[in-house]
């Protein structure tokens, strides 16, 4: 009896949990068959997620970064809105060129930022791909196991890079190296898919835990 009183949606907290449980069961009902409850809750979810995003966007972004500075004397922020709205000229055949000014600014800024990103991301990786495979004076502490690992790394790296050489017809040793590269890619994709499966299972486990722990209070 005590369990039943706790279980029923008699408080605001319990009502929230019940709504969560009903949503979960309705969305998983697709596994049985296509049904109107699933469709209803799917649309509810999409609508809620989109509406929810609007709140932080207005409160945390427009208010904090646009309205507040504007009201504190940074009058030039007033130009940000009309400038941004020039994008909508894209729908006009006559004045479409106006939108290209905003698009140009966005592309220019993004290109500059991504140039920095490219250098920061890939230069250290290129540097890290130079791995020692033969013990010399510069790497006396190189263990045999490390040398083998590094050798495998270099073989895989070169074979996969060879696979992506599309500028000329691959023949002979180049083709065989490219085939090895393709095999390596397949193995990597298989490992990534294994991770994907783990992620999906985790989501299911999370929902089952919610049903058993929060809703049914059995754990």
């Amino acid at each position: 009896m005590e369990w039943l009183n706790d279980f029923l949606p008699l408080s605001l907290e319990r009502m929230g949990i019940w709504i969560g449980a009903i949503c979960t069961v309705a969305l998983y009902s697709i596994l049985y068959r296509e049904n109107p409850a699933y469709r209803l809750f799917e649309h509810l979810f999409i609508g809620l997620a989109a509406g929810y995003s609007l709140g932080p966007l207005v409160g945390d972004i427009l208010y904090k970064y646009w309205y507040l500075p504007l009201t504190e004397g940074a009058w030039w922020w007033a130009f940000a809105v009309p400038f941004g709205m020039w994008l909508y000229f894209i729908y006009s055949e006559k004045y479409g060129w106006v939108s290209r000014i905003v698009i140009g600014v966005l592309i220019g800024a993004s290109a500059g930022l991504f140039f920095q990103q490219f250098c920061s991301l890939y230069v250290p990786q290129i540097y890290a791909s130079f791995k020692p495979i033969i013990p010399t004076g510069a790497n006396e502490g190189l263990l045999a196991s490390n040398a083998i690992n590094n050798f495998i790394f270099i073989v895989v790296l070169l074979s996969v890079l060879t696979y992506f050489l599309f500028s000329f017809e691959q023949r002979g040793p180049v083709k065989r190296t490219a085939v090895l590269g393709r095999w390596m890619l397949m193995i990597a994709l298989g490992a990534i898919f294994g991770n994907t499966l783990m992620a999906r299972m985790a989501l299911l486990v999370g929902r089952v835990y919610y049903l058993l722990h929060d809703w049914l209070m059995q754990i």
Binding site: I61, L113, I192
Partner: protein
């Protein structure tokens, strides 16, 4: 003929029965937990060691960019990391590039800090704060890298950044020691590219995204990584804690065993059925 029927039936088994078995398997392992030791991977050890080497009052930024759809993986990770930061006495701030995560991560941080024995964390703003939602992470990182209070004017509760006790003495991201990106999406490259060079980066992705992290681990652009729920479990084990990772890991492991069994049986059934067909 009898053998052919069994294999054919196995191939044609209704997929809903498989879903039901999977659901029951998960429910059983959640309801009857037992402790299974985790093999600690070196990326998880790397992140643990990096956090463990922090000094009291060191500042850490947690970039929490997940939504309700990946809560099962990202919540245990975030909880474990916050617990460890509290244990080390480090100060931390959260920032979200995902609207839902602003409230979800704050709720989790409130829960973990309130249940902690360290009373310093019980008052919001003292040792930790949430800097709210940012739409453009690149602009936010670059802005915070030069002037924190200019880039993030107020925290999630509307308090000006320079009035938060947790950020006393911190002018920009350069005054932080570490950033940990808890994310199901591709936000990591932004932190690696645009952070101040002194800031070390830790990564807590969902399992799907983990493959992307290994290249950065290899080039030492990351100090460590915890992969999804398994990573959270490893992290909890390193801390000697029992959290959500411990509760979920058996259900995950045995559902993997079940799926391998299904794949094995399905393929065996197909081969046997084809063989029987050939004989007939």
């Amino acid at each position: 003929m009898q053998q052919q029927n069994i294999w054919t039936k196995l191939i044609r088994v209704d997929r809903r029965i498989l879903y039901l078995i999977l659901f029951l398997n998960i429910a059983v392992f959640l309801m009857f937990p037992f402790k299974m030791p985790a093999t600690i991977t070196s990326p998880a050890r790397g992140l643990y060691d990096a956090v463990d080497s922090l000094q009291p009052n060191d500042l850490v930024m947690i970039s929490s960019n997940w939504s309700a759809s990946t809560m099962a993986e990202n919540q245990p990770q975030l909880e474990a990391i916050i617990k460890h930061l509290i244990r080390k006495g480090a100060r931390f701030t959260l920032v979200s590039n995902e609207a839902q995560s602003r409230d979800l991560s704050k709720r989790i941080a409130v829960g973990v800090t309130q249940s902690s024995d360290n009373a310093e964390y019980h008052t919001y703003g003292q040792k930790w704060a949430h800097l709210g939602f940012v739409t453009d992470l690149i602009a936010a990182i670059r802005g915070m890298g030069s002037n924190l209070s200019e880039a993030v004017k107020q925290d999630v509760e509307g308090t000006p950044i320079d009035q938060l006790p947790v950020l006393q003495g911190a002018k920009s991201l350069k005054d932080y020691k570490m950033v940990i990106d808890v994310t199901p999406s591709g936000t990591l490259p932004y932190w690696i590219s645009y952070r101040p060079p002194n800031l070390i980066v830790g990564y807590a992705p969902t399992s799907v995204m983990a493959a992307e992290g290994f290249t950065y681990l290899d080039s030492k652009q990351l100090v460590g990584m915890i992969t999804g729920l398994k990573g959270a479990h490893e992290y909890e084990q390193l801390m000697g804690e029992t959290g959500l990772g411990h509760k979920f890991i058996n259900a995950i492991s045995f559902s993997h065993v079940l799926i391998l069994l299904f794949i094995g049986l399905g393929n065996l059934a197909m081969i046997m059925a084809r063989r029987a067909q050939g004989e007939a």
